[in-house]
């Protein structure tokens, strides 16, 4: 990458390496990646080498569903500490645990007017560009969006 000049085409980088299916383009086709245990069937977010439930070593990768429901939530009323990359100036936003049909609840920002977020609300995965980093690459993250 060091040989690339400033005019080189921007790359897409996942916010966390093992979080998404590949390729990362088009974004509308990308899903959250998971790991399912061959022994107990528990599903983990991203890639894990062994099952955190039964410690089984036999696991395989799966695609997680796009559609889920809010199991619980909160509203972040003040700018989170650290290098938060949300809208500037800060606007309050929802964060919740989204239950997916695979039997996992994933912590995620909730893209919805905050006063409309409810437990049980149906949401869809949205994989999107969170920000452009200092090298000009697009960093890809996820959120769940309230169904229209």
């Amino acid at each position: 990458m060091a040989t690339e000049n400033a005019g080189a085409k921007a790359q897409m980088l996942p916010v966390r390496e093992d979080l998404f299916t590949r390729p990362l383009s088009p974004l509308s086709e990308v899903r959250l990646a998971g790991t399912e245990c061959d022994t107990c069937g528990e599903v983990s977010l991203g890639k894990v080498a062994s099952c955190p439930n039964c410690i089984g070593q036999a696991v395989h990768e799966i695609k997680l569903s796009r559609r889920g429901r809010v199991w619980t939530y909160t509203i972040i009323r003040h700018r989170p500490p650290g290098d938060y990359k949300g809208p500037e100036p800060f606007v309050p936003f929802g964060v919740g645990l989204v239950e997916l049909p695979e039997g996992i609840r994933v912590l995620s920002p909730i893209d919805s007017p905050v006063d409309q977020i409810k437990i049980g609300m149906a949401v869809d995965l949205d994989v999107y560009k969170l920000f452009t980093d200092e090298k000009g690459d697009d960093v890809i993250a996820f959120r769940f969006r309230r169904q229209e």
Binding site: V15, R16, L19, E42, V43, S44, L45, P52, N53, W71, T72, Y73, T74, I75, I76, R77, H78, P80, P81, G82, D83, Y84, K85, G86, F93, V95, G96, L97, E99, L100, G103, I104, R105, V106, L107, P109, I119, L130, F131, V139, A141, F142, R143
Partner: protein, 381 residues
């Protein structure tokens, strides 16, 4: 049967925010504990220091100032449960026969406001905005409200109670009572949790002189016995806490508070009905309600009723956080559990002044934090 271990001396440095460096904050608590025990520093054979936000080998830097006696001094860390782990190391070391007398020092000096998120979260969680500690407690509270009908008013009552208790504790950072209207009118931080319902990270220190019961006989006829000191980490999918990124929707294991509590009750040979008072982790007001249920003070889903009945206030049938709790004292992480135990020792000796629980004989201290680290200590007079 394991050797009985006791707390012979206790000492505190007030919790709050100070210009003073951590070295002198820690030394003050250690010196006070030695004086209280009637011991000299040269009587101490080993020390464990609990801290999270201080530099390398802080314990040695603090305690060498009392005299470079060459004893082993080790720092331990387990987030909010750090103090429990330090005490547990002391208990195990004395039970093993390696020492008779050990100092446990909890000390912290922390920046104002939110803690550095990279101490607890991965970078991607910070970039995406999932690094606000109270949001995790708030989501647990919201789900409890949904399942059991717990109300914002019941959550606020915990804060009301603890702030009211704090008025009588000179070691608390805030010694100020608030009305229910003030609490429910304070700013939302993470819905449904409000500013006056959460604890602030701060500074302070607390220390214990711990020894075998046999050794204690030379100093006092009535030492406080450590009946149990347990530490657990959350089981798989049992606890939604910083920095979790997912939970199972199919499996729900017993939470760390329940686990550490059950182990402590078994070791001490007591149950929740035998307790005279508790100091528990009120990181936020809802957290205290959840702990009532997990420690078996009431059934699952009935903690709102327990606070409505005023059972857990000073003068009630089972007072909780008569010190004012962390909501009033603040949470100097390494010192929080040790500070709870100093309070409980004073209570069991009848030295707690206006916040004294009459006739207290058995007391429980509890902390829980990041990663589902939980410590429970039971003390007996």
């Amino acid at each position: 049967m394991a050797k009985e271990i006791v707390i012979l001396g206790v000492g505190m440095h007030k919790f709050g925010r100070f210009d003073e460096p951590y070295v002198s904050i820690g030394q003050e608590a250690a010196r006070n504990a030695l004086v209280d025990a009637g011991m000299n520093w040269k009587d101490i054979q080993a020390a464990y220091t609990s801290r999270m936000y201080l530099p390398a080998t802080s314990g040695a830097r603090i305690l060498k100032g009392l005299g470079a006696t060459g004893i082993p001094i080790a720092d331990v860390e387990a987030a909010c449960a750090s103090g429990g782990v330090a005490l547990r190391q002391a208990v195990l070391a004395i039970q093993s026969g390696a020492y008779d007398t050990v100092l446990v020092l909890g000390v912290e000096k922390m920046p104002r406001g939110f803690m550095d998120p990279l101490m607890l979260y991965e970078k991607w969680q910070v970039l995406m905005g999932m690094s606000t500690n109270p949001s995790y407690w708030a989501m647990t509270a919201r789900r409890h409200m949904e399942e059991y009908g717990t109300t914002e008013s019941q959550i606020a009552k915990v804060a009301y109670k603890n702030h009211k208790h704090s008025v009588h504790n000179p070691y608390a950072m805030y010694q100020k009572a608030f009305t229910m209207e003030e609490i429910l009118g304070s700013n939302l931080i993470c819905d449904p949790i409000r500013l006056l319902e959460i604890c602030a990270p701060n500074e302070g220190a607390a220390a214990l002189v711990v020894c075998s019961k046999e050794k204690a006989k030379q100093y006092t006829a009535r030492p406080v016995v450590i009946a149990a000191c347990t530490h657990t980490i959350a089981l798989y999918s049992s606890d939604f806490r910083v920095p979790a990124s997912s939970m199972s929707a199919r499996i729900s294991n017993a939470g760390p508070t329940q686990l550490a509590g059950e182990k402590a009750y078994e070791a001490a040979g007591v149950g929740p009905g035998d307790l005279d008072l508790l100091e528990v982790q009120d990181t936020d007001a809802f957290c205290e309600l959840q702990i009532y249920e997990e420690l078996g003070l009431c059934k699952l889903g009935e903690s709102g009723r327990l606070i409505d009945e005023e059972a857990t206030q000073l003068g009630g049938r089972l007072p909780v956080n008569v010190s004012g709790g962390l909501i009033s004292k603040g949470e100097p992480i390494g010192a929080s559990h040790v500070g709870q135990l100093v309070e409980l020792v004073w209570q069991l000796r009848g030295q707690a002044g206006k916040r004294q629980v009459d006739g207290a004989k058995i007391a429980l201290g509890h902390v829980i934090g990041a990663g589902g680290n939980c410590a429970v200590t039971i003390l007996k007079q």
